[in-house]
Symmetry: C2
Subunit: 205 residues, 2 copies
């Protein structure tokens, strides 16, 4: 995805913050000064633009990949809100959530794998979360290279307190998908994700 699908169009790039934009429109530049359109999404517009410039290329994949990225960007921004109220960033919550979900101690390596982050990033997050009293560490008795991390009571309570708000919010966000649509979408995404995860080599090329 990349820009191809782009952020611009839709890729998923960061979703902006409150930039003041307000295009006066009067200046000839307004790219599309249209207000958010009620129907249609921004990716469709980007795809249309690309097709106009390169009619020979198959832009089909953009409609899937661009939308996934754009949805992800919007959803993550949206979901940051409940977390921020709890004083957590998403990567921090992911780390705490991994501990809560698995219900046991995890080593930093395991946490890196679970949260799909680098080991260095986990080290940094653990430092902060430890200082805030949300997790505790202990050394392994046999292998002194290894550490074991567990949630403190405060950490567990924080996760358990945030999770329902998070899920409620997600439910609201998806409320536009009616009837069987949500399930269909989940199934199709599961299929795609299974493919992506099942064939790592494919992604490398």
């Amino acid at each position: 995805m990349t820009a191809t699908e782009g952020p611009s169009a839709g890729e998923g790039a960061a979703v902006t913050r409150g930039d003041s934009r307000t295009d006066t429109e009067g200046r000839g530049t307004a790219v599309r000064a249209e207000p958010a359109r009620r129907r249609g999404d921004t990716v469709a517009e980007v795809v249309r633009q690309w097709r106009a410039v390169h009619p020979d290329l198959d832009t089909g994949p953009m409609e899937v990949i661009g939308r996934i990225n754009r949805c992800s960007a919007l959803l993550q921004q949206a979901e940051d809100a409940p977390l921020r109220r709890a004083g957590l960033t998403r990567p921090e919550f992911d780390l705490l959530g991994a501990l809560r979900r698995t219900g046991r101690e995890l080593t930093p390596s395991e946490l890196a794998r679970e949260t799909f982050s680098s080991g260095a990033a986990v080290t940094k997050r653990l430092k902060q979360l430890t200082e805030r009293g949300l997790v505790e560490r202990r050394g392994d008795t046999r292998d002194r290279r290894v550490a074991h991390v567990r949630l403190t009571d405060a950490g567990r309570d924080l996760v358990d307190g945030v999770l329902p708000a998070q899920l409620a919010y997600e439910t609201a966000v998806l409320s536009g998908l009616q009837g069987p649509e949500r399930g269909e979408l989940a199934a199709l995404l599961g299929e795609l994700l299974g493919q992506l995860e099942g064939r790592p080599g494919t992604l490398r090329a």
Copy 2:
């Protein structure tokens, strides 16, 4: 996005074997002890773990949102490869792509809107892309606050050279979805995205 590799996908650990992500939402969860499973995706496992711990919560939304986030992370990481060969990061390519797509000059503000980035980020990227000779700027004759950015010939050639490889790669990545599935997925994502974009307020809550 973000990041050289992508925001979330970090790490070189890329797809090793049991990698998985998805955390709550898609961030990471690799449930590690199990060998790579041929069937099923990691989000399903994470959801299962959460349900075991909190049987009372409705984890339905996770199956959609978690998968979107996880797919996005994997896809972005994967798609960085063709771009990196061209010496571009994704945000850089997104910026160039916006100029190519629209076929005209854009101001920094417009580029920020098109690429969903902050103005400051656009300023930084423009600086680098200008130094590399991929874009040019000129001041507005009437309003001297405004700049206009356009692709150089080299910039346009670079975009046009990279785009086909990008699309070909995306097609390969999605090849697991057979028949009408890709179109169905695109349609459902479009519907969701239309909802998300059409009601910004919803996301803010």
